[in-house]
């Protein structure tokens, strides 16, 4: 007889959602989190698209510690001098305020407390060593030489899935699988944030940028999210480029982003409250490990459930949905013939039926087009050329848009035929 029905490793959105679901169904669940308080080791940006949270916390919209809701979403291509951007600012966002800027230190602590209130036992400040197996079945976790038993282990340990790797449940991460995220939380004031981003009350802006101006062909993306009285700003740099380029430092790239002429005025005068760096999962179905086995399931970032197509960068919603799916699978298995590889197979099926695996399948290979010269150099340069031709009066005869675009392709730095082909692939995959 096991000590717990389930041990959940990781107190982020995936783990807490699983623990809440299990505990409220009357199961005896232990949630183990390495950070104390929970959330204090998290670096995520970020925006919470919390629709799935409703299943475990029906009133989350009113009670969750969120900063602002997404009222405007921006995408920008940055060159040395310019930001060529697109902004979607809409009252359509007001009706269903599903997207919220969050500070994870607050959110994770709240989620874990909710899990505790619903009856989960919470052990924070503890790092699990590995999943314990007996005759091929996961029987609990090992920590500092002790075995804690459970019918099922749910691994929800985040972007750096050390327990899953050390337990042989997934491959170690390759450079290609991860990027490095560096983030600053910059303190301004509520009023200043409102003024600079053209916001009112609880409205927020979430922007994603391509940093097309970096030296040494380094590829990185930037992000800017407004919190109540702070701004979360940061960069995501491909691990491959960091590794290949001795002169590239993550702290240097975040500085270049924040000093860009289009970004600097937004963060001007703010004081840095937090500085952090962490691995970011690149996402993609190719990187999803075996999701379950006899006595265990993997959820959230640990399972590679994050999504990035260059326009959006999401993880928390996939985490919550997969955590709940894992819990529901276990609840069903316990009602039936008990926990086995067969009974946990329902986990994968649930994910296939939901957007979690559907998105990852539909957007497979996306990383091949979100990283690369076309989006990171050619598009920013070409766009700048077109905009310059259209909007900066130079006292010379005007050109047609088509002419500008052809020229722009020439300016873009890659061969026209490649650009057309790459561009086509990019549109298809996005």
């Amino acid at each position: 007889m096991s000590e717990f029905d389930a041990i959940v490793v990781g107190g982020g959105p995936a783990g807490s959602s699983a623990a809440m679901r299990l505990a409220s169904a009357g199961h005896n669940v232990l949630l183990v989190e390495k950070a104390d308080p929970p959330g204090s080791k998290n670096v995520s940006g970020g925006v919470l698209w919390g629709n799935d949270l409703e299943a475990v916390i029906p009133d989350w919209q009113k009670t969750a510690p969120v900063e602002r809701y997404v009222k405007a979403k921006g995408v920008g291509f940055l060159t040395k001098d310019s930001n060529i951007g697109l902004e979607f600012r809409s009252s359509l966002f007001d009706k269903n305020r599903a997207g919220h800027m969050v500070l994870r230190a607050k959110l994770d602590q709240w989620l874990v407390k909710k899990a505790k209130d619903m009856g989960a036992m919470v052990a924070s400040g503890i790092t699990v060593d590995r999943v314990a197996f007996d005759k091929g079945k996961a029987i609990g976790v090992e920590q500092d030489g002790d075995l804690i038993t459970s019918d099922c282990v749910i691994l929800a340990e985040g972007a750096n899935p050390r327990v899953a790797i050390d337990s042989g449940l997934r491959e170690p991460l390759n450079d290609k699988d991860v990027a490095i995220g560096v983030k600053e939380v910059i303190k301004l004031s509520e009023k200043t944030v409102n003024e600079r981003f053209n916001l009112r009350d609880k409205e927020g802006f979430a922007g994603e940028y391509v940093l097309g101006f970096l030296p040494d062909q380094v590829e990185a993306g930037g992000f800017l999210y407004t919190n109540k009285e702070t701004i979360s700003a940061g960069v995501v740099i491909s691990m491959k480029h960091l590794r290949e380029n001795d002169r590239t430092y993550s702290f240097d790239i975040i500085e270049q982003f924040l000093e860009h002429p289009a970004i600097a005025p937004l963060v001007d005068g703010g004081s840095v409250e937090e500085y952090s760096a962490h691995m970011v999962q690149e996402g993609g179905i190719e990187r999803v490990p075996k999701l379950f086995g006899n006595g265990y399931m993997i959820a959230g970032d640990a399972a590679g459930f994050s999504f990035s197509n260059g326009l959006v960068l999401q993880g928390m919603n996939y985490a919550i949905a997969s955590g709940i799916a894992a819990a529901d699978t276990l609840i069903e298995a316990k009602k039936g013939n008990g926990v086995s590889e067969e009974s946990l197979a329902g986990y994968r099926k649930r994910l296939l039926d939901s957007y979690v695996l559907k998105d990852l399948y539909n957007f497979r290979g996306i990383d091949e087009v979100t990283w690369g010269k076309l989006p990171h150099r050619a598009i920013p340069n070409a766009l700048e050329h077109i905009m310059k031709g259209l909007f900066i009066e130079q006292g010379v005869p005007k050109k047609h848009l088509y002419q500008l675009m052809t020229e722009a392709l020439g300016e873009s730095g890659i061969r026209t035929s490649d650009a057309v082909l790459e561009g086509y692939r990019m549109l298809r995959r996005m």
């Binding site: 000590e3 036992m121 052990a123 400040g125 503890i126 920590q143 500092d144 002790d146």
Partner: protein, 268 residues
């Protein structure tokens, strides 16, 4: 001969993290509002010293504090590291107590336990630095005292403690019951384990009120505390030179540091 299990009691205090406390330059009071709470650093060493004896001998470790209920997670943390039980003395009447009624109250709780062999306490707390409570408890329970100790061992009814004094180390041997106060950083506190944390959560914390330890409410609190804090002053601010050194000037910097006698270069 069967030796009965030792009973070790560790006194802890929850304090604001010293790095986050400052003297308000206007009111001259301690501003703790920005600070997070921690276990007083020396008390962590006191717990570790007790646990090291438990590693060697059959012993029960009780951790105890006098505080409002916010201290519970910190007692839990001590149990998660290996303490067997935790006692919280919590009573509205003790609010404002200085070290005198505190020592008196803690001593009463130890007397109630009846079988205590060694009491461990940190040498001092980081938020008031009096170092009174350990010796005060020794006085009130009539035990021997070894203060400022860095290493403690137990054998056959005697405690041996290495005391760190200004001019050297003094080794003392005192009979139990004994009180030992432990120096900050004198050992490396162990980490909590999951097994112990689960057990601690299942066991919970014992809470005693003043009535439970037979202390009248008018013996404690602000009015029964002889200490009067007249005022508090911040340290005068020392402005540093704040020179920024470019990479190329590092050799020059080293030269200057050598010249001014701050560092010394030794031949390999």
């Amino acid at each position: 001969m069967i030796e009965l299990a030792l009973h070790l009691v560790v006194l802890i205090k929850v304090v604001p993290d010293g790095k986050e406390v400052f003297v308000d330059p206007v009111t001259f009071t301690l501003n703790r509002s920005m600070a997070t709470n921690i276990i007083n650093p020396a008390d962590e060493n006191a717990l570790e010293a007790a646990l090291q004896i438990k590693d060697q001998t059959d012993a029960k470790v009780t951790v105890m504090t006098m505080a409002p209920p916010f201290a519970e997670p910190f007692l839990m943390e001590c149990m998660s590291r290996g303490a067997d039980e935790a006692v919280l003395i919590s009573d509205r009447a003790v609010a404002g107590s200085d070290t005198y009624p505190t020592s008196l109250t803690v001593a009463a709780a130890i007397k109630k336990m009846g079988d205590v062999d060694i009491v461990f306490a940190g040498e001092k707390t980081s938020d008031s630095s009096t170092g009174h409570v350990g010796p005060g408890v020794a006085e009130f329970i009539g035990a021997e005292l070894a203060s400022y100790s860095r290493k403690v061992t137990y054998e056959n009814g005697y405690v041996t403690a290495e005391r760190e004094l200004e001019n050297g180390i003094e080794e003392v041997r005192i009979p139990t019951p004994a009180v030992v106060t432990i120096l900050t950083d004198s050992n490396d506190p162990r980490r909590a384990t999951l097994r112990k944390k689960i057990d601690a959560m299942k066991r919970g914390i014992i809470t005693w009120s003043l009535a439970d330890i037979n202390i009248p409410a008018d013996w404690v609190g602000l009015r029964s505390s002889p200490t009067v804090v007249k005022k508090m002053l911040p340290f005068p601010r020392k402005d540093r030179k704040g020179e920024k050194i470019e990479k190329e000037k590092i050799p020059e910097l080293i030269d200057n540091l050598v010249k001014s006698g701050v560092i010394r270069v030794e031949a390999e």
